[in-house]
């Protein structure tokens, strides 16, 4: 009861069977319908998130944001989309036609495919792959490929250099991303996203906040969102690898970026914030959509917040942040989880029963699994806190040393102000 997915599934099966289809044809048709819904959902969402982002950014920067088209400017994105639809598609002279045309399609494809493994509720996941986590990393290859093809085929030096820099950024940040993905896989003992959600009576952000942080930051860099948008820096530079694209082809790159930002929010929610988990979700699976939606929006709000507050980084800072901070941190984190995870801290059923006898409200609120996992979660949290303190201390030492270096240079009269490292080519 209260289960939308089963109801709709049964309804569709009955409907299609009554049209005289065989069982396998029915199955394929349902799969096609689900795929179409997911695809349209993924793209339709962008119409909303672009508006939301402009509105939120406006408020944070003390502006109004879009407010002309429709109530609260909600149809602004629709108007923009129609404008882009009627723009001319210019193909630059000397463009390499085939890769040039495939690139925008690939960039959307690489993001849209992520939605196939996002579990929406207890029984709603488009495809419960047992290698889902690796699948997410693998489909990211389409995005990298799209950038390379776009940059190469445009016959433009800036596009090519921009593309190479994007590739350098994306592949660099993929390292901490994948290393932080290892942590939920280790804790849950499966690569299936549905399995990872089911293994989270206590959200993984409580166990491993450091891994969640690394995942979030490196995902932001993968997407190329501010503060990591130095390669297209819309306010200063020409557009980077998609400089030669116009009209709908350009819109596809734009779309892919916003879709990706939302998809990584959903992934963060699934992998670290318990996905569809919440009160009464087992009885009413439909609630799972709501919980996942809320968690995703919270993460997405943080994405927008970061965009509006953190200044853009330079390319050498971007690479240093990755290789000298995030990668060592995630390596240490994986080692820590590997060692701590082997400590026998899970409570047995008798111990859980004993504790629950004294505090029955805990079982009512969270369930017995929660109690069994609690000591482990607390230990992980403490260890993570210790790691954070050590890292902050090290960062403090580093920052002091850098400041002394700059001060020494200023004293010698070499520079009147801190000199940025030359990062031009």
């Amino acid at each position: 009861m209260g289960d939308i997915i089963t109801t709709i599934g049964t309804f569709l099966t009955d409907l299609l069977s009554s049209l005289g289809m065989g069982p396998s044809a029915v199955e394929i048709t349902i799969k096609i319908i689900v795929a179409a819904i997911l695809g349209v959902f993924g793209i339709g969402l962008v119409i909303f998130t672009v508006w939301l982002e402009r509105k939120v950014a406006g408020r944070i920067q003390d502006r109004l944001g879009p407010n002309r088209v429709g109530p609260y400017g909600i149809f602004q994105t629709v108007a923009d989309a129609i404008k882009l639809l009627t723009k001319e598609l210019i193909t630059p002279a000397g463009a390499d036609k085939v890769p040039y045309n495939i690139a925008p399609v690939f960039s959307v494809l690489g993001v849209l495919l992520i939605w196939a493994v996002v579990p929406f509720t207890t029984n709603a996941i488009a495809s419960d792959l047992n290698v889902a986590v690796l699948y997410i990393v693998a489909v990211g290859a389409f995005g990298v490929l799209a950038v390379l093809m776009a940059g190469w085929s445009s016959n433009n030096k800036y596009a090519l250099l921009g593309a190479l820099r994007v590739v350098a950024q994306t592949i660099s940040y993929e390292v901490p991303l994948v290393l932080s993905l290892l942590v939920p896989v280790m804790l849950a003992g499966t690569m299936s996203t549905q399995g990872i959600v089911e293994a989270q009576p206590i959200w993984y952000i409580v166990y491993v906040p450091v891994a969640a942080f690394v995942f979030f930051v490196s995902s932001l860099a993968e997407v190329g969102r501010p503060p990591f948008d130095l390669l297209e820096a819309e306010s200063e530079l020409v557009a980077g690898f998609h400089i030669e694209y116009s009209g709908m082809r350009f819109a596809m790159f734009f779309l892919a970026e916003f879709m990706h930002a939302f998809a990584i929010s959903a992934l963060t929610a699934v992998l670290f914030l318990g996905g569809w988990r919440g009160p009464w979700v087992q009885q009413y699976p439909t609630l799972g959509f709501v919980y996942l939606g809320i968690k995703t929006m919270v993460v997405y709000f943080v994405v927008m917040w970061v965009r509006c507050t953190v200044p853009r980084v330079r390319i050498d800072q971007m690479l240093n942040l990755n290789w000298k901070f995030l990668v060592p941190l995630s390596l240490v984190n994986v080692l820590m989880v590997a060692i701590l995870g082997k400590l026998p801290l899970r409570l047995s059923e008798e111990q859980v029963a004993e504790v629950l006898q004294n505090t029955p409200w805990v079982e009512w609120a969270f369930g017995p699994e929660f109690m069994a996992e609690l000591p482990r979660a607390v230990l992980f949290l403490l260890a993570n806190a210790a790691l954070v303190i050590v890292v902050l201390a090290l960062l403090g030492v580093y920052a002091r040393r850098e400041r002394r270096k700059v001060e020494a240079l200023v004293d010698e009269g070499e520079f009147s102000a801190p000199q940025p490292a030359a990062a031009h080519q």
């Binding site: 695809g39 190479l164 240093n320």
Partner: protein, 119 residues
């Protein structure tokens, strides 16, 4: 695990490719189409484009790709290890730890050699 799960991925791959294709085709139909030699020129900040597009790039790109490749290869081994982690004896976990330490040695090497500097 079944082939069935992948049937959906195959269908989704086709649908997900058709959506942007449809959008671009629609854009091509709705938009004007009046190319002229000036319009289709390569845009390099208004200057006449000069020389080949394939300028010499620096070797740092190769080094970053190389380090990425190394980490990717090693992580590929760590994923099955992580999936099996809960059932592994302590000794096997230590094997994995040694593996990660070798990976860390790679990072220390490139860091010490200054290969991670962008200049």
């Amino acid at each position: 695990m079944s082939i069935n799960e992948w049937t959906f991925i195959a269908i989704f791959l086709i649908v997900a490719a058709l959506i942007p294709v449809a959008a671009i085709v629609l854009g091509a139909l709705l938009g004007p189409r009046k190319p002229n030699p000036v319009k289709v020129q390569t845009y390099e900040c208004g200057m006449e484009t000069h020389g080949d597009t394939w300028v010499q790039i620096k070797a740092a790109y190769y080094i970053f790709a190389l380090v990425f490749l190394v980490f990717d290869v090693e992580v590929v081994f760590l994923f099955p290890w992580a999936v099996a982690y809960n059932q592994l004896p302590l000794f096997a976990v230590i094997e994995g730890v040694v593996f990660i330490l070798i990976l860390a040695a790679a990072l220390v090497y490139v860091w010490q050699k200054g290969a991670l500097e962008w200049v």
